[in-house]
Every structure is written in C-alpha cells, then in structure tokens.
C-alpha cells in the first residue's frame, strides 16, 4: 500500500502544525473551554466542526474508490493544479473591478486548472510512452510552481488584499461562513447519493474495467464521474484542509479502513466514519488551540487512525500477521520436538516394522543430537511442551512423552512421512532432499489433505499403519 506518500504527508502535516504554532506556546484549554467546544456551544465552532466532519465523510467514501482505482496520486496532481486557477481567477476578478475573493469564482478557477492538470497527465500517458507517475510528477510540480509564481506576483501588486489566498495552500477554517457549510453539505450529499447509486458500477470499474467495457458500460464516462466527484471534494476541501494536505484526507481514511475489512461496503462505511471522526476531532482540537492549523490537525488525526489500523487492524494489521506467524512458528517447533522424540523411541525399539514403539524416557542429550537446536531453544521447546501437557520431565536429564503427547507425536510423524512419501513417489523429489521440503509443508496439512494423501498412497500399496521413514534418518539432518 502507499506507505511512502502517507509518511511524507504525515511529516508535512506535522511541519505545518509546528509552523503555525511557532511564535507562541501551546495554549492549554481549561475545562470550561473544553466543554464549550465539545458541546458545540459556539456558533463558529459548530460551523467549522460540522463542515470538516462532513468533508471527512465525503472524502473517506470517494477516496476509497480513488485508492482502489489506484489513482491516489491523481488526486494529488488535481489538488496541486488548483493553485494557478485560484490566482488567475483572483487577478481576473480584481481586474474586472469586483472583489477578488469571491469564493465561487476562486473555486471555479481551481476546478478548471485542476481538471486541466489531470487531462494533461492523461494526454501525456496516452500519446507518449512515459509512465503515469512521471507524468503526474511533472504536471503536479509545474502547475504548483506556476501558482506560487502567480501568488508572489499578486502579493507585489499595490493595494493588494491577497493575503487570504495563501490559506488555500495550508487551509484555514477560521474564515468559514454559513455559505461554505451549505456548499460542503450539498457536495457531501451528492457524493453519498452517487456512491449509493453507482456502488456496483464503481466496484466493477475499480476491479476490472475491461469487463465493465464488455458489459457495454462506457468506462470513460464512469471514470469521469468518479473524477468529477473527487474534484468536487478536493475543491470544497481546499478552504478547510488546503491543497497540499487534501490528498491525505482522501487517501488516509480509505487506507486505514482497508486494514479492518475485506468487504468493500464495510470499507466505504469505515472510511467515511474515520474521515468524519478525523474532521470532527481535528477541528475540535484546533478550536481549543487556535494557533494550530486545523487542516494539519485533521490530517494528523487521520494519520493516527491509520497508524493504529496498520498495527491493530483486524484483517490485515501487522500485529495480526505477526501473531499468526508466531503461532505457526511455535507449532512447527512443537511438532519438530515431538517427531524427534518419536523417532528416538523408534530407534530404541529397533526395527519392528508396522508396530508402534513403546513410550519410554529419552535423554535430553540425545534429543539435542537429533536436530540442530541450540541448547536454549531446546530448553524453551521442552518447557512449552510441558505446559501443553505433551511432555513430562522425569529426573534431571530425561523427558518422557505424556499420553496425549505420544498420540500427537505419532500423528505428527505419520503426517511428515505421508508427505515425504508423496513427494518422492508423485513429485519426483530426490530422497535426500525430501526431508527439508516436507518440513515446511507438513505443519500446515489439514485433515482433508491428509485424507487425500492417504487415499493416494493407499492406492499405490504403501503401508500406512505406522509408516516407516522413506529415507535414512540421520542425526541432526534437518534443521529448521
């Protein structure tokens, strides 16, 4: 998943929080202020928190499709390409004698150059052999650079009131008015309704666009609808989060939601919730500490949720994966120990083919010689097996299998040999290599597979009661 961009975004967010905080220390709120913000008493707080939560909801939902369509960076190009449009519209509007800061006018300009940037990327991709990412990198930086140049031109103008334009880069929620709230609310409404009605269309488009074409759908139009929705969210988000950080708001909630589920519908729901929560929480903190930039705080909230999801996510989180790996590792260790013990018992019993060996104490030192275990690892394995009631320690230097342990050991050994025999007879693996190969797979053999192996080998007339090893058992032969 897009880890590096996300990391970069987090760093950007942090630095813009710090740049906003410089020149003054954190102002720690007291209880009454906290109460005021959390209960949304203040009109302005209500407006800002409401707007950013809705924005988060919309961007989480539409961002999920953007992520699944593998167009994350396209959103970034789009938002950066908005800057020249804002500046040009400001110049045009002041030139015509109007107020340069009329919001609809500025957002219109942003939309036009934003889409122009995306169109150029597609043009470059379709007419040259340049790859997507290089095309996007070029367009993104050229448009943004052009916007910055225009911005400094505007600043140099006499009687300029252009100071506010910079807020579109980092976002500034303080200047929001009721009109903005209604704009955000209506765009959110459109995004949610469109996502409901186009759920199956977008699902298929993002999964297999060629197949969508086979069904007779116009995938270009569908892509355009998706792009239009992303553009709408980006443009209305410029004011609150700023054009640099809006991409984080689009992608982070979706990426975080992906760690929790394998179902697209649940992912959409979660991403919307995470986005909304980040918007609500981030802007609340910002209301308490007015020096901190709300946009950056919102993005950092989303990043926190992302980090948490990355580690603790239920279906694909790092912890879940590590834990299942660890569980397998333990199981492998336990089975190796039991099999080593069983094979030692067989050696002690001598070559009595077709019978189970009798259970007897085994010296730890001979176990040690059996596999390439370190003494520490062997001690840990024995302790673990004792805990699981597979093993009893009789005296200082000997161990003995318990009744359930003996059954488990016999079963494990048998599985190992079934698999080995199968490899030799059906997969043409040389006997001297087979032990190692079998070692890896036997631990994950399910009952169904074991049954199939038995059937297959029984058909070949292999003895199955107590299967002898198909190769010579050498001490310390196979390590883990």
């Amino acid at each position: 998943m897009a880890m590096r961009p996300l990391l970069a975004i987090t760093v950007l967010g942090l630095s813009s929080v710090l740049s906003a905080a410089e020149g003054g220390f954190f102002h720690f709120p007291d209880a009454s202020e906290l109460w005021e913000v959390l209960t949304l008493r203040n009109y302005n707080t209500r407006l800002v928190v409401g707007s950013t939560s809705l924005l988060g909801l919309a961007s989480g939902v539409i961002g999920s499709f953007l992520l699944l369509r593998k167009r994350s960076l396209m959103g970034d190009t789009l938002s950066h390409a908005c800057l020249p449009g804002i500046c040009i519209m400001y110049l045009v509007m002041t030139g015509l004698g109007g107020s340069g800061k009329s919001l609809p006018g500025l957002l219109f300009g942003a939309t036009v150059t934003g889409l122009l940037g995306v169109w150029l990327v597609m043009l470059i991709r379709n007419t040259t052999r340049m790859k997507d990412d290089s095309a996007m990198g070029i367009i993104l930086s050229v448009f943004y650079g052009f916007g910055v140049v225009l911005l400094s031109v505007i600043k140099g103008l006499p009687d300029s009131s252009a100071a506010g334009l910079e807020s579109y880069i980092y976002g500034k929620v303080g200047s929001m008015v009721l009109q903005d709230f209604f704009l955000i609310a209506s765009v959110t409404g459109v995004v949610l309704v469109a996502s409901c009605f186009l759920l199956k269309e977008f699902t298929l488009l993002c999964f297999d666009d060629a197949y969508a074409g086979i069904l007779g759908w116009n995938t270009h139009v569908l892509d355009l609808v998706l792009l239009a929705l992303v553009t709408a969210v980006t443009v209305i988000g410029l004011q609150a989060v700023g054009l640099i950080l809006i991409i984080a708001f689009l992608i982070t909630p979706a990426a975080a939601a992906r760690f929790w589920t394998d179902d697209l519908r649940i992912m959409l729901f979660l991403a919307g919730a995470i986005g909304g929560f980040s918007g609500w929480f981030g802007s609340s903190i910002s209301a308490l500490t007015p020096r901190l930039s709300a946009g950056a705080l919102i993005v950092l909230m989303a990043a926190l949720v992302f980090l948490f999801s990355m580690f603790f996510g239920k279906t694909r989180g790092v912890v879940v994966r590590l834990r299942s790996q660890r569980r397998l590792h333990r199981k492998v260790g336990r089975q190796h120990l039991l099999r080593a013990l069983y094979e030692l018992l067989e050696e002690q019993a001598g070559d009595r083919f077709g019978e189970f060996p009798s259970n007897a104490p085994v010296r730890i030192s001979s176990l040690q010689a059996k596999r390439s275990w370190t003494p520490g690892r062997l001690r840990r394995l024995i302790r673990q097996a004792q805990k699981e009631d597979h093993l009893e320690r009789s005296g200082g230097e000997t161990v003995q299998l318990s009744e359930p342990g003996f059954g488990e050991a016999a079963r494990t050994t048998r599985n190992h040999r079934l698999w080995e025999t199968y490899l030799i007879t059906h997969a043409d693996v040389a006997p001297q290599h087979v032990d190692r190969d079998a070692d890896r797979v036997e631990h994950v053999l399910g009952p169904e597979l074991v049954r199939q192996l038995e059937e297959k080998l029984a058909r070949d007339g292999k003895p199955l009661v107590s299967l002898p090893s198909p190769h010579l058992i050498t001490p310390g032969g196979a390590g883990i």
């Binding site: 759920l199 298929l204 999964f207 060629a210 074409g213 069904l215 759908w217 992906r258 394998d262 697209l264």
Partner: protein, 275 residues
C-alpha cells in the same frame, strides 16, 4: 459489403445474396481485421468464420496476437480496420450474447470483495446501470459458483483463493452472464489438474447446449484432445478449420516457422496426438 438493416424481422428473412460469406447464424464472423500498436501491425487482415456449437482453440506462438484478436473482437483495443459480426449483427449490438473470461493476471486479486461478488458481476449487464443487485442475481451467481465446484468458497475474499479457484471464479462469472458465445483467454494457464478437468467438463457442457467457445490455448499436446475446431494464428490466420484437417505437421510448421525449439514441441505434440 452491404450491412443488413437492423429491423427486428430481419432474422426471419433468408440471407441476402449480396452477403455470400456469412450466414446470420454464424456466431462470429471477422472481416479484414487489422490491429496495430504504435503503428506496428500485430494482426493482419484477419478473416474468420466460426461455426456454432464448436470448441475452438486459438493456437500460435508467443506474440502471435491471440489475446489481441479477442480484445479487438470485444472492442477492448482499437481496430485499425475491419469489422466483427456476432450472430449476424455488429458486436456492439450483440453484447448480451458474448461472455468473456480474461487472463487471470489482468486484475488485482487483492481487492476487498468476495468470490460471490465477483461472479455476481456477470449479471450486472442484465441488471443495468444504477439499479441495485437483487437476491435473484446473487442466486444466479451462487448457482454458477456451484456449477464450477467452489460454491463453498462463495464468501471467501478473492486473494485467499488458489490460482485454480480464481480461474474458476472467472469462469463462473462468464457462466452467470448466460451468453451464447464465449471468449476465454488462456483459462488453462497455471491451473491444477482438477481445475483443468473441471474446465474441460464445462466446455463440453456449453457445447452440448449449442454454445460456442473460443479458447486461447498454449499447450499443443492437448489441442487435438480438447478442441474440435482450431485457428492457427501468427499475426495472420495461417489456417482455420476442423482440428483433424488443420492441426497437421505442415500447418504447425507454417505457424511456428523458424522457431526450432517450438517446432520440436509441436512435433512431439503431433506424435502424442497419435498422428
């Protein structure tokens, strides 16, 4: 060439004499098809008529344009020239009659969706835009999944399926489409023996229902056994016709010409096929 007018009663009329090559019953008729990538032709002047109810193997060396032929028929890559008729009418108007099984690697299997959801996509064309998926459609999809023997995996996320199971999901999706003409792009690539068996059974079942299947196939040793009609392709149609007439040593030479290793393989295949 004169195109037949699109009145609904046209199917009941006898074939007009101006169109001698294709009868309207022909599931697939390709005329003068040429496809070029970056001005370099990959398919030259393809003329092909596929009769109904056949299992058709499309065979040729790597880079012969086998997949491109399918994609050009399905409007997935632009045609430089030529036209494709499905049951007597242009493909665009006959989409509902055509099913497609793409190559397995063409999609990202790490997508948050279940096997059943993918198969349900086969019914999306019938559902239409903006309309929700109903129980009826999910039932159709479930039947298709059971048909290919993996009904018990319906709820499983698609990345947790084996390669063969993923291939079966794609086949089930095409089944759910309920088409009359199927395009299958290397369905046998890297599947286990039981899946291969299942696909063969499915192909014969479709054939028995009078359906036509075009299958891109790599394994020369099984061509004679699996298909009753063969298209030998190498940027142009080298030969097309019933397997016993077309799948011969000379024709394979012409198709794989110049590539000695492959020629050896082809010769072996012919010996194996008992010719």
């Amino acid at each position: 060439m004169i195109q037949t007018p699109s009145r609904p009663d046209v199917d009941s009329l006898p074939t007009p004499p101006e169109v001698p090559t294709h009868s309207p019953e022909m599931p697939l008729a390709i005329d003068d098809l040429t496809v070029a990538y970056h001005n370099k032709p990959v398919l030259w002047d393809i003329d092909l008529d596929i009769p109904e109810g056949k299992l058709v193997g499309i065979v040729g060396p790597n880079g012969a344009g086998k997949s491109t032929l399918m994609k050009a028929c399905l409007d997935l890559v632009p045609k430089a020239s030529g036209r494709v008729m499905v049951y007597g009418k242009p493909y665009k108007r006959q989409r509902s009659l055509v099913g497609y099984v793409p190559q397995r690697e063409s999609v990202d299997w790490d997508y948050p969706i279940s096997a059943l959801d993918v198969v349900t996509m086969g019914t999306y064309g019938r559902i239409g835009l903006f309309r929700p998926v109903r129980k009826l459609h999910r039932d159709t999809a479930m039947n298709a999944l059971e048909h290919v023997g993996i009904g018990h995996l319906a709820k499983r996320q698609i990345s947790q399926l084996s390669g063969g199971q993923q291939q079966r999901v794609f086949l089930a999706r095409a089944l759910a489409q309920d088409a009359r003409l199927y395009f299958m792009d290397e369905p046998f690539a890297a599947v286990d023996a039981s899946t291969e068996r299942a696909i063969i059974d499915l192909l014969h079942e479709l054939k028995d229902q009078g359906k036509t299947c075009l299958v891109v196939h790599h394994d020369l040793s099984t061509v004679a056994q699996y298909f009753d009609w063969v298209v030998l392709l190498n940027m142009r149609v080298v030969k097309a016709g019933p397997t016993e007439d077309v799948f011969t040593r000379e024709n394979l030479h012409a198709t794989y010409g110049g590539r000695l290793a492959l020629l050896e393989e082809a010769g072996q295949a012919l010996r194996d096929a008992g010719r």
